[in-house]
């Protein structure tokens, strides 16, 4: 492994990712895979913030769900094409993220988390009050439309490859961000903020930028989900969703590239699997998994596997 250069490793990672992604829809159920990808992108976006900038946002549902509504509204009521709808969703996530970021970025730790939660609750309130969201009935019947006016996305396989392409794009962007000088500075801030300040970095600006990127990708994930399921609902903006993305990231492995993907896959599959099998015991089993994970596999699925192969443990939030 060490013999490979960074460039080769990245190439290998993306090759495997694309090959697996292209075979998957012929083996597994495409709609389910699309859901996995949406949540995986959401978790990756979140991980960019928590894992690499050390910022725990407890309000990411606002971007995910808020953008889902915006895309839904634009595509259904104004007849926008899906690719423009997605772009608008991502832009909305970014703008909302800038707003959240400006208010929250100068606070730390639990206070940062609580400000983001508070702002996200406001977004939830607005979603309940605004007539166009359809309240708890949800925004129904969002059309998948035609990609670039050509490809009919109501075909599941076509939709899958569109979603997969967007996912790879988003994943690549996150990967690039992490490995760019910007990403290095973020990590430096995470590990030792005073040192970063003394080196002359405008810490607040870097954090804000990370927040905006993360929020806009979370928004993109939410927008995509609204197209896949043709539905945006209050569950998407509820704080449970904010909590869920934290869990996905931790379960998969904080601060690892593939961790959030693994975490999202684990939780979404469990949710799907348990829905048929155990009925009302879903909650208990999920709860037990979190407990076991915290007690025994604190590095998360990917982090533990990495540790098995003797790689340095993934950088998580440091102890106090």
């Amino acid at each position: 492994m060490n013999a490979m250069t960074e460039r080769q490793r990245t190439f290998a990672l993306f090759t495997v990712l694309i090959v697996v992604g292209c075979i998957a829809p012929f083996v597994l159920y495409p709609t389910f895979l699309m859901k996995l990808l949406c949540f995986a992108l959401f978790a990756c976006a979140f991980n960019l913030l928590l894992g690499f900038a050390g910022l725990l946002s407890f309000g990411h549902a606002a971007f995910f769900g808020g953008s889902a509504y915006i895309t839904g509204y634009l595509c259904r009521d104004l007849g926008l094409s899906p690719e423009l709808g997605l772009l608008a969703g991502a832009a909305f996530g970014g703008v909302l993220g800038a707003l959240f970021g400006l208010l929250a970025i100068r606070r730390e730790g639990i206070y940062f988390a609580m400000i983001t939660l508070g702002l996200a609750q406001l977004v939830y309130f607005v979603a309940v009050q605004m007539p166009f969201t359809g309240g708890e009935d949800g925004m129904q019947g969002i059309p998948r439309g035609k990609l670039f006016g050509l490809v009919d996305l109501s075909n599941n396989i076509a939709m899958y490859f569109f979603v997969f392409a967007v996912f790879v794009g988003g994943f690549w962007l996150i990967h690039r961000t992490i490995h760019s000088p910007f990403g290095q500075i973020l990590k430096a801030i995470r590990d030792n903020e005073p040192r970063a300040i003394s080196l002359g970095y405008d810490v607040a600006r870097f954090k804000l930028l990370a927040f905006v990127i993360s929020a806009s990708l979370a928004g993109l994930a939410g927008s995509m989900k609204s197209l896949v399921f043709q539905l945006a609902s209050l569950a998407d903006v509820h704080w449970h969703t904010s909590g869920q993305v934290v869990l996905m990231t931790l379960l998969g492995g904080l601060g690892t590239i593939l961790g959030p993907v693994a975490g999202a896959f684990t939780i979404v599959s469990l949710e799907n699997l348990l829905a048929d099998k155990v009925g009302s015991w879903v909650e208990v089993i999920m709860g037990a998994i979190f407990v076991v994970c915290v007690l025994l596999f604190r590095r998360g699925v990917v982090g533990e596997i990495g540790a098995l192969f003797g790689k340095k443990p993934a950088a998580g939030p440091a102890g106090h």
Partner: protein, 294 residues
């Protein structure tokens, strides 16, 4: 006479009701603040402990015929005992780690507790009677006040201020506070710090159970009664300043009143007003109203 466009009797009525709800916030946020301040754990299971407290009271009455007054003592003890188990077997390992892990673990525990109770009791919940001694109400002129609600305020105040006194004004409290600052030093003085921490968690959980028993006669005892509340109580603790004992009590009461008034002027927003207050407070005072500046 009118205040802000509503008749003053109604206004005073709403203030009083707000204060009563604030009492619940005060006890719950007090427990959270104690646990956070001394153990550095964000106890997401607090809502579940509140719910279990109410259920223990109900089970005691329905299955064993144990009345309300005994429940007020026994239920916190039962929940406290479970808390000891949780602290000894799980939480103990997490003190040195990031808050995140404590939060995740207690969140998992809360999910499990809620799931189990849902399976056995359903979601509609069970009814618990107001104890005979406290039935009926008094006509205050501006409103009808059920005696039980008056009792809630009295009991809550008594418990909150004794807890505050014990921690801030007694030698035991001083030791506790010292143990969180310098566990090594306190240990060296011959005090068993781990036992102290276990006891603290049990007391915090016991307070939640106490609030649960207090709530049982007014609110339907159901498995989700805590999960709806916990997130609001978190906001209360943060507004007061994490870990500040007095802050959590005063803020709890104050926010109860703020919420009560919102219910009069803009009822739709009464669930969100506390979060608005939280954001505003944190922008002005980054460590909360009573928190020490980091």
């Amino acid at each position: 006479m009118e205040i802000f466009g509503i008749p003053s009797p109604a206004f005073f009525g709403q203030l009083l009701l707000g204060l009563i709800n604030g009492s619940f916030y005060a006890i719950l946020s007090l427990g959270l603040a104690i646990i956070f301040g001394l153990l550095n754990i964000i106890n997401f299971a607090h809502g579940a402990q509140y719910m279990v407290g109410a259920f223990v009271a109900w089970m005691g009455f329905t299955w064993l015929g144990i009345g309300y007054w005994w429940a007020l003592i026994l239920s916190p003890l039962v929940v406290g005992a479970v808390a000891v188990l949780i602290e000894r077997t799980m939480l103990k390992q997490l003190y040195k780690l990031d808050h995140l892990y404590g939060l995740l673990l207690t969140f998992g525990l809360a999910l499990m507790a809620e799931g189990v109770f849902k399976n056995y009791f359903g979601v509609s919940g069970e009814s618990y009677e107001v104890p005979e001694l406290l039935q009926g109400g008094i006509n205050l002129g501006f409103m009808y006040l059920p005696i039980y609600r008056a009792w809630v305020v009295v009991a809550a105040m008594a418990v909150c201020f004794s807890a505050w006194y014990a921690i801030e004004r007694t030698s035991l409290g001083a030791t506790l506070r010292a143990a969180t600052q310098r566990p090594d030093l306190v240990q060296a003085l011959g005090i068993n710090v781990p036992v102290l921490l276990t006891a603290t968690y049990a007391v915090g959980a016991g307070l939640a159970a106490f609030a649960g028993v207090l709530a049982a006669p007014i609110m339907q005892v159901n498995p989700v009664m805590g999960s709806n509340l916990i997130i609001v109580v978190f906001a209360v603790v943060v507004i007061g300043g994490m870990g500040s004992i007095l802050g959590s009590i005063v803020t709890g009461l104050g926010l109860g009143v703020v919420e009560g008034l919102t219910k009069v002027f803009y009822p739709e927003a009464s669930a969100v007003v506390i979060f608005v207050v939280m954001v505003l407070v944190l922008l002005v005072k980054p460590a909360g109203l009573f928190g020490k500046q980091a």
